[in-house]
Structure formats: C-alpha cells, structure tokens
Amino acid sequence: MAKAASNTEAYLRMYTQMVRIRTFEDNANQLYLSAKMPGLTHMYSGEEAVAVGICEALTDEDRITSTHRGHGHCVAKGAEFKAMFCELLGKAEGYCRGKGGSMHIADQSHGNLGANAIVGGSMGIATGSALRAKLQGSDDVTVCFFGDGATAQGLMYEVMNMAALWKLPVIYACENNGYSEYTRTEEIAAGSITARAEAFGIEAHQVDGQDVLAVNDLTRKLVARARKGEGPFFIELMTYRYHGHHVGDINREYYRSKAEEKEWKDNRDPIIRFRAHLVSEGIASEEELDALNAEIEKDATDAVAYALEAAYPDASEVNMHVYAA
C-alpha cells in the first residue's frame, strides 16, 4: 500500500508537478518585476514537495483548502497554467473570471476550494467539507493547508476539537516555513505545534517537507486511514520559502540572513534532491528530465503570453455573481 506510488510514472509525475510549481512562480515573479502583475503575490518556491507530496496522495474527489501562498497547492491539485495566469492578471478566462486573483484562486473541478487571504480563514471550511463527507457517507478526504503563522489563530483549535470529537476525514497540513511575514516562528509559537494537535487527541506527525517521497508516503497512509474513519490527522511539514513574504519583500536581511537562504537552496532544495534520486535510481536520465523541464518552461511561457493578451472581464460582470441564482 505504502508503495503504491513507487513506480516510474508516479515519481515522474511528482517531479513534473514540482517543476511546474517552480516554473509557475518564476514566471509570476517575472510578471511582478516587469510591472505586469496587478497587486502583490506570495511565492511558493522552495515548498514544492509539500503541496506535491500531499496532493499526489489525493484524487479529484478529495478537497483541499489553500492559503495566500496558494499557487503551489493549485498546481499540485491539477490546475492548468493558462487559467491560473489569467486569474493572476485579472482576466476573464481566469479560474475565477479574474475576480479572485492570486489570493482567492480556486479550482473547483479538481477539488481546490480556494486560496484564502485571511490567515487561518479556511480551517473551518476544510473541516466543514470533511463533516459533509461524513454526513453524506462519501469517502473523500479534505486537506487543510496552512502556515506556521496560522497556528496562532484560535479557529484552528475550535475546529480540531470538533474534527476529533466527530472523527472527521480531514488532514491538517501545517507548512512550517520558519516565518510568518517578517517574524520567526519561535517568536510567535510557544510550546510544540504537534503537541497542540495531540492534546485534542489528534495523531500528529512531523515530516521533512523538502522530501517529496517522505511527504507522499506519510500522506497516502493517513489518507487511507482517514477514508476509513480513523481521522483526523495533523502533519507539520518543515519547509522554507525562497522568496520574501511576498514578491515586494526584497530587502529582508533585517529578519533573515542570506546565508540561511543559501543553505536551504543549496542543500535542501526539494527538486534538486528528488532529481538526484530519480537519476541515481535510474528512473530517469538527466536528459529526460531536462527535456521535461524545457517542456514545462514552454508551457508556462505560452500561458503567460496567452494571459497577457487575454481580455479583461466585461464591465457588466462587476455586479454579477454577488448572489447565486
């Protein structure tokens, strides 16, 4: 069971998805730097193994809730570049017709219930999706992504309590990237994050968030158990964001050193590590992977070009969708 994904196809898909996220973010950042992006956006680069390791353990029926740093989750759950870039640029062909933007991107077709600009704001939504699954006897699982900073929101403890009491099929995935905005996690989180979940009787795990296989193995096991009614579960994924808090956070040495960033990028990069594994295990050659990368790069370039040319929503859409029919 735990080995179900250890085959060439699954591994290559995980590699592909990680590279797709990195490539998406590089292009999004470029759009910002060239002043083509409305507003600000939060880069997921560095954290790819978390979203991919988890989402590859899910089906389209399974739901996720995402965060302000949500492009990675969106790609990992199956979204296409074109509709994503259109959304980031506020175009009508975006996943949300340009109305949501980066911080609210949702992709219902793949079970992504949406990014959220309220830190912790989706914890209730994810738990409620799991409650619905239980009530309706459906065996889908919901994963709630959130950051270390979001553990300071009281809502999390309220919904963990109910999830535990009612054995809901939800997995709380805490992406601990060491910072919330410009503050180190130690300064904002007392005690132990996993112990907090355990205190509610929730089985909690800590895992290396830069190791896509470790993340995926653990998640597949927990998802299978959650489907059988053994949930909820909690995972703390130790990871790192390469960029600033958002694309505009350039001079950040006052809160974290260049040396620290270099250490993570050089020695713990999830893509470099997994690529080395694929090559050393003979699953793919350097050339094959380069070709894959190039294909993804082209896909992104095309999508960006398409999105830049795409139309904005018509003015008449401004007061459409306030209420559902």
Binding site: S129, M162, Y323
Partner: protein, 331 residues
C-alpha cells in the same frame, strides 16, 4: 386557520425542509436533546437523528466556518446561533468567507446556508444578550437578511431561506417565540424582497421590521382613534429590500416613519429612510423619521431597559406630530 407559535412555525419549516432535502442539516449549541434554550428545535433530533441535528462545543467561529465548508461542497447547513449578539464572533466566517465566496470564485462556488439567530431587548438579559444587529450584516454584499414579524412570516421565510443558494441570515425576535399567529397547514413559501402591507392607510406610512411591526400596528390602532389613517408595511427581508412597495406607499401617504429595533445611528432605518428620501422626495410633505433602539448598550435594569426600545405610544406620538405638520426630530 390554526394558530401556532413563532417557535412552532420555525420548527415546522425546518422539519419540512429536512424531510424534503436530505442535504439540509442543523448545527449549533444545544440544538439536539435540549432543542435550544428557547426550545425552538424540540423534537427534531428525535426525527432526524444526531447526524442531522448536531450539538457543537461553544465554538461559534468554528462551526460557522464548518457550515461554510459543508455548504461549498454540497450540503445545506442551518446554523443555530443562540443569541444574535454572538454574531460578532462569527463575522469573519460570515462576511469574509460565506458572503464573498460566490463572487470571488467567479460564480463557481456557492454557499447555500442559513444562519438563524435572534434579536430583541426587554428580556432583562443585559448588554451582551439583547442586541439587534441586523444592520451589520445588511451592509455586506453577498448576504441576504430576513426579519420575520410573526409565525406566518417565520415559517415562509425560513423555507425560502433554506432553498436559497446564498447565505441567508434570519433574525427571530426572541420575545415573540410564544406569540401565536394563523399559519396554514398547506405548504407555502414567502419570496424574498416582497414587502407585506399589513394595514392600509392614507395619511402616513409606518415601516417596521420584526418586533417593530407589532409596535407599528398597535400605533396604527391608536392613531385610528385620533382619525389618522396609518399604513403599516413589513419589508420582511431587508436584503433584498422591496423598495417599490415602500416607495409607492409613501408616494400615496406623503409621510413615513421607519422603525427597527437596532440602534438608531448607522442602523437599518437610515438606509430605508434614505431610499425613500431619494426616490419619493418630491412626494414627501415632511421628513422621513426614524426610530430605533437608543444608542446605548442595553442596560440590565428594567427601569432603564424599557426606555431603550420604541413603544407603540412613542410611535403614535411621533406619527401624530408628523401628520400635524410639526417639524420634529425623533430622538
């Protein structure tokens, strides 16, 4: 026609809709065996079981958020919020999440849920259990707001709310749970955005919401004794608001007094009065007056609390002065 209490009306509406649609469920504190402190939901857990009538811990933001998630993925939750004052605890989930999801997703996600809660002072429950906070939610696009004024409206609006594909907030008057009114045995729904002319009149239009409809009706009776013919209108939903009916009435009577139990300043009456002023200005013989709860936290002491809510006497007095052409400023 049989008469039932407002409490029974709500109970019936929910039971009927739960029978009709298996995706409807109830969630809140002490809703199951206890049937809420007001006993409005008594008996439902016996019929529908604890899977569909769910007792929660005291976690209002938590279960409100969960209702949003359940609604987004195919269920129709009815959230029971024990006191309207607790709405402050769930504003983020209600206003940042539930209200905006349909729009932010470009129309792809829907959040069909009902938040039922209450309003009303003079129950000696003091400042944190007596507020009438409808103005706050009415200000947030994406929410609909219903304010039943009797058992009849309570049933018909609740059924419509449950079938609506949007988040709907229903404020019940907690002082009215035991009040009876004729309610048909047959099924009926009351469409949103349709005001009800409770009493026809010529000289002045009294527009009341929820608890204040009764107050307006009593005032109209008093005014009748003085020879003043008051029309009484209940908007029934303040979002959407049936402007048309209100405006037509005011064009006919030339005078209006708007009464709501929320605080007067920055409250519901300001919006209604403003729309009447904007759209019936040249028909008005006097300024549209507003009455609401005093702009004070609700005091516990009976000697003070009763001063804070408009009474039929005060409404009649203000209406009388308006009709007499006195330029008055209702406090």
């Amino acid at each position: 026609m049989r008469e039932i209490t407002l409490s029974q009306a709500v109970n019936e509406a929910i039971a009927e809709e739960m029978r009709r649609d298996p995706t409807v469920f109830l969630i809140g504190e002490d809703v199951a065996e206890a049937g809420t402190p007001f006993k409005v939901l008594s008996g439902l857990v016996e019929e529908f079981g604890t899977d569909r009538v769910i007792d929660t811990p005291i976690s209002e933001p938590g279960f409100m958020g969960m209702a949003v998630g359940a609604a987004m993925t195919g269920a129709r939750p009815i959230v029971d919020l024990m006191f309207g004052d607790f709405i402050f605890l769930i504003m983020d989930q209600l206003c940042n999440q539930a209200a905006k999801t349909h729009y932010m997703s470009g129309g792809k996600l829907t959040v069909p849920l009902v938040l039922r809660t209450n309003l009303g002072a003079t129950r000696r429950s003091a400042a944190q259990h007596s507020q009438s906070l409808q103005a706050l939610v009415a200000h947030i696009p994406g929410l609909k707001v219903a304010m039943p004024s009797s058992a009849y409206e309570a049933k018909g609006l609740m059924k419509t709310a449950i079938r609506d594909n949007n988040p709907v907030v229903i404020f019940e008057d907690k002082l009215m749970y035991q009040d009876k009114a004729p309610v048909p045995e047959e099924e009926y729904l009351i469409p949103f955005g349709q005001a009800h002319v409770k009493r026809e009149g010529r000289d002045i239009t009294l527009i009341g919401t929820s608890s204040m409809v009764q107050v307006a009706e009593k005032a109209a009776e008093m005014l009748a004794l003085e020879g003043i013919s008051a029309e009484v209108i209940d908007p029934r939903t303040i979002v959407p608001l049936d402007e048309k009916t209100l405006i037509e009435s005011v064009k006919k009577t030339s005078r209006a007094l708007v009464i709501d139990e929320g605080h007067r300043s920055y409250g519901v009456t300001a919006e209604i009065a403003s729309r009447l002023n904007e759209k019936a200005f040249y028909h008005l013989d006097a300024p549209v007056l507003r009455m609401g709860a005093m702009d004070v936290p609700v005091p516990f002491s009976p000697a003070l609390e009763d001063l804070t809510v408009p009474t039929p006497e005060q409404v009649a007095a203000n209406a009388g002065r308006l009709c007499a052409g006195e330029l008055i400023h209702a406090a």
